[in-house]
């Protein structure tokens, strides 16, 4: 029953998204489009509308998880060439992992890899591994609000404020509390830094974006690692403020003079919030762009373990150093054959053909040698008996 109505919903969703796109609107990542599709499933009694030619060995997929991936996931679902109907519930990484382990969805979606305990539980639940399949990367950027500083940078002929991971850690630990602190001045010689309080802004909800950001800070700052550590939710120092979701942090940064927050790169670019360059492991100051975010994962491909549970740390070259992965979680066994082949077809298409859609929406796609290894992961779906 579920698959019947989800097919109708997905077909309608695709149809409505297409109609919206034709109308000249940018329907990408519009959450109302998804709910329209959901509403439509109640009223529509013809599952074949949209004519996506679903054959007998195809099944509809149900997935749930990270909100981070939702805009591009909706595009992938709309445009995927195998024509797989997918219903994606954007409920957050924690919810995605929980539903995946409860086996109420076909695939989970998360911005953090499973903990050792979750991996062990997964093995107990289905008697085989949960597979981690990277499908996109996202940069997390330091973003700030200080018009006087921007004017000073322009006067000095510098494109962007330059920071190191240590200084960012000091700012969020409130050790560095003034915009003209010597440690910032040393990184931006020749810039006449204005004074004023720095107000650090963080996520108030548990979040993969937080995880990526603090994982990086814990890697580059011993003091951060010792006092705060990392996780999708950490114990922030006094004097910082929180905002709910990327939109909450963005609003806080835009409205609070002197604020510095961290945002998913797409959010910062779309809202035209000033970003800072960060010095990477090779000592290069790198400004966050879709391309520079993509560099990071490629540079560490050789260090990634076989189970694909990894953090992207120590990025050098031209790579922007604060990068995280989005994973799809799937089982190594226990699927019906049609579900398994549909899931594999969909994911293969996403990893190989979905790149342009991802770039359009400011996600960094999986490419090159990384892509080859990810395809190997996809082959493992349902491969174990």
């Amino acid at each position: 029953m579920r698959s019947f109505s989800t097919k109708a919903a997905a077909a309608l969703l695709a149809f409505s998204l297409l109609a919206a796109a034709c109308g000249g609107d940018d329907a990408a990542g519009d959450p109302t489009a998804a709910s329209n599709g959901g509403d439509a499933q109640e009223t529509d009694d013809n599952p074949d509308v949209g004519g996506d030619g679903v054959s007998a060995d195809r099944a509809d997929l149900l997935g749930a998880g990270a909100t981070f991936i939702t805009p591009v996931m909706l595009e992938w679902i709309r445009d995927n060439e195998p024509g797989i109907a997918v219903n994606y519930q954007s409920i957050g990484s924690g919810g995605g992992i929980a539903q995946f382990l409860e086996e109420t969805v076909d695939f989970g979606s998360t911005e953090r890899y499973l903990t050792d305990e979750e991996v062990a539980d997964a093995r107990e639940i289905r008697g085989c591994d949960a597979i981690h399949i990277p499908d996109a990367f996202g940069g997390v950027v330091p973003a700030y609000n200080n018009p006087a500083l921007d004017a000073a940078l322009q006067a000095a002929g510098q494109d962007s404020l330059v920071l190191t991971g240590e200084v960012i850690a000091d700012i969020f630990m409130t050790n560095v509390s003034q915009w003209d602190d010597p440690s910032i001045a040393a990184l931006n010689p020749g810039v006449d830094l204005p004074g004023g309080d720095i107000i650090p802004v963080h996520r108030s909800d548990g979040s993969g974006t937080t995880y990526i950001f603090v994982r990086y800070l814990a890697d580059v700052s011993q003091e951060w690692n010792d006092t705060i550590g990392y996780g999708s939710e950490v114990d922030w120092p006094a004097g910082t403020i929180g905002g709910n979701g990327n939109e909450g942090v963005a609003a806080e940064v835009q409205q609070q003079p002197g604020a510095m927050g961290y945002l998913s790169i797409a959010y910062a670019i779309e809202n035209d919030i000033t970003m800072a360059s960060v010095i990477n492991a090779d000592g290069n100051a790198v400004y966050p762009t879709v391309a520079s975010v993509s560099e990071g994962p490629s540079s560490i491909i050789d260090t990634i373990p076989d189970d694909f549970r990894y953090d992207i740390l120590g990025v050098g070259g031209d790579g922007f150093p604060i990068v995280g992965t989005h994973w799809v979680l799937a089982w190594e066994c226990g699927y019906d054959d049609d579900v398994a082949s549909s899931l594999q077809d969909f994911l293969r298409w996403v990893v190989t053909e979905g790149d342009d859609l991802a770039v359009d929406l400011l996600y960094s796609p999986v490419t090159g040698s990384f892509e080859a290894r990810v395809l190997g992961q996809i082959d493992r779906i349902n491969a174990a008996e």
Partner: protein, 342 residues
């Protein structure tokens, strides 16, 4: 809300008040209907208790591992909130004091701002406003009560805190008062101050409505007698109307406080969400309902138990407020008389 002093009609009077000389069949039906109706009412009344009991037991049961690890006192007084990632045991540190402190602080401040204003509005509507203005004024205040939380949250976030509260806060912080820790800067947009202000606006309608009702209950004879003895309007309001209505005002305040304690969305957006506390007004802290709403979606299982433990704590605080209100009302109305709030 305001009860008259007439005793409830007892079931026996109801039955006796039936129609003894009516048609036989109708009476037979009534005889059957009566116990059925009684049963329906009993089920309806007890369902409230059952739902309440289920909620308390269930949440306490789920939260128990956290209470067991931190201890009841440790949970309430602990100042560190560091969540763990386990699915089966409690590995983090869960001290809810920053959230308890935040909730109590902003609720108390909101009451402090809202009650005098509410009494003022109620007195103006009842005593001073010209007759043509009373209706519209009443409707306006009641409309405030119908605005959803999210609208308050957004208006607070994009307008009030930027153009009203933070500027006022900066004036206070820059004044000599700013030398006190409590009023010291920097003035953040998201702070206890902003949250207390939005709460004050949100609880204003209910307190105003109750004050208006209570003031209207003052026997006109007493008011007239005061005027006859030469009292001015101000004296009548201060010496007759307000003291007479004290218990009603307390009751209204407690209802407002109940809403303030539990308000989630507007507070979550405006309080600052920093999981720390400081005895400062312009500091970004957090409150019990807000931290639950903010962190629930992405929490690991053990963090969810801890959030449920906060829920239980919040429940206990609400109960304490209710009981305290009841006690104050009973004590004071015994001494002063006047419109009682049930």
């Amino acid at each position: 809300m305001v009860s008259s002093r007439t005793p409830d009609p007892s079931p026996t009077t109801l039955r006796a008040g039936g129609d003894p000389d009516g048609e036989g069949r109708r009476r037979a039906w009534s005889r059957r209907a009566d116990p059925i109706f009684r049963g329906v009412l009993i089920v309806a009344a007890s369902s409230v208790l059952l739902v309440l009991a289920a909620m308390i037991l269930r949440t306490t049961w789920e939260a128990w591992p956290v209470f067991a690890k931190e201890g009841l006192i440790g949970f309430v007084t602990g100042e560190q909130w560091s969540v763990g990632t386990s699915r089966s045991e409690v590995t983090g540190t869960y001290g809810a004091w920053p959230f308890i402190y935040g909730t109590l602080k902003i609720s108390f401040l909101a009451i402090l701002f809202a009650v005098p204003l509410a009494i003022g509005i109620a007195l103006f509507t009842n005593e001073i406003a010209p007759a043509w203005l009373r209706r519209p004024l009443t409707y306006t205040v009641d409309t405030l009560a119908m605005v959803p939380s999210i609208v308050y949250a957004l208006v607070g976030m994009y307008f009030f805190r930027i153009y009203v509260w933070a500027p006022i806060g900066r004036v206070i912080a820059d004044s000599p008062l700013g030398a006190l820790t409590f009023f010291s800067g920097p003035v953040l947009l998201s702070s206890y101050w902003s949250a207390a202000n939005i709460l004050a606006i949100m609880i204003l309608p209910i307190i105003t409505a109750i004050c208006r009702d209570v003031f209207a209950q003052i026997p006109q004879d007493e008011v007239n007698a005061a005027y006859a003895m030469g009292a001015t309007r101000w004296e009548v309001m201060r010496r007759v109307i307000v003291p007479h209505s004290f218990s009603g005002i307390v009751g209204g305040t407690m209802l407002g406080l109940g809403r303030a304690l539990g308000e989630t969305l507007a507070v979550a957006v405006l309080i600052g969400s920093s999981q720390r506390w400081a005895p400062r007004l312009f500091f970004g802290g957090d409150a019990m309902p807000a931290v639950i709403a903010n962190t629930f979606a992405d929490a690991h299982p053990e963090a969810i138990w801890a959030l449920l433990a906060i829920g239980v704590t919040l429940f206990v605080f609400t109960m304490i407020v209710n009981v305290a209100a009841r006690i104050i009302v009973v004590r004071v109305s015994g001494r002063l008389g006047g419109g009682a709030i049930v």
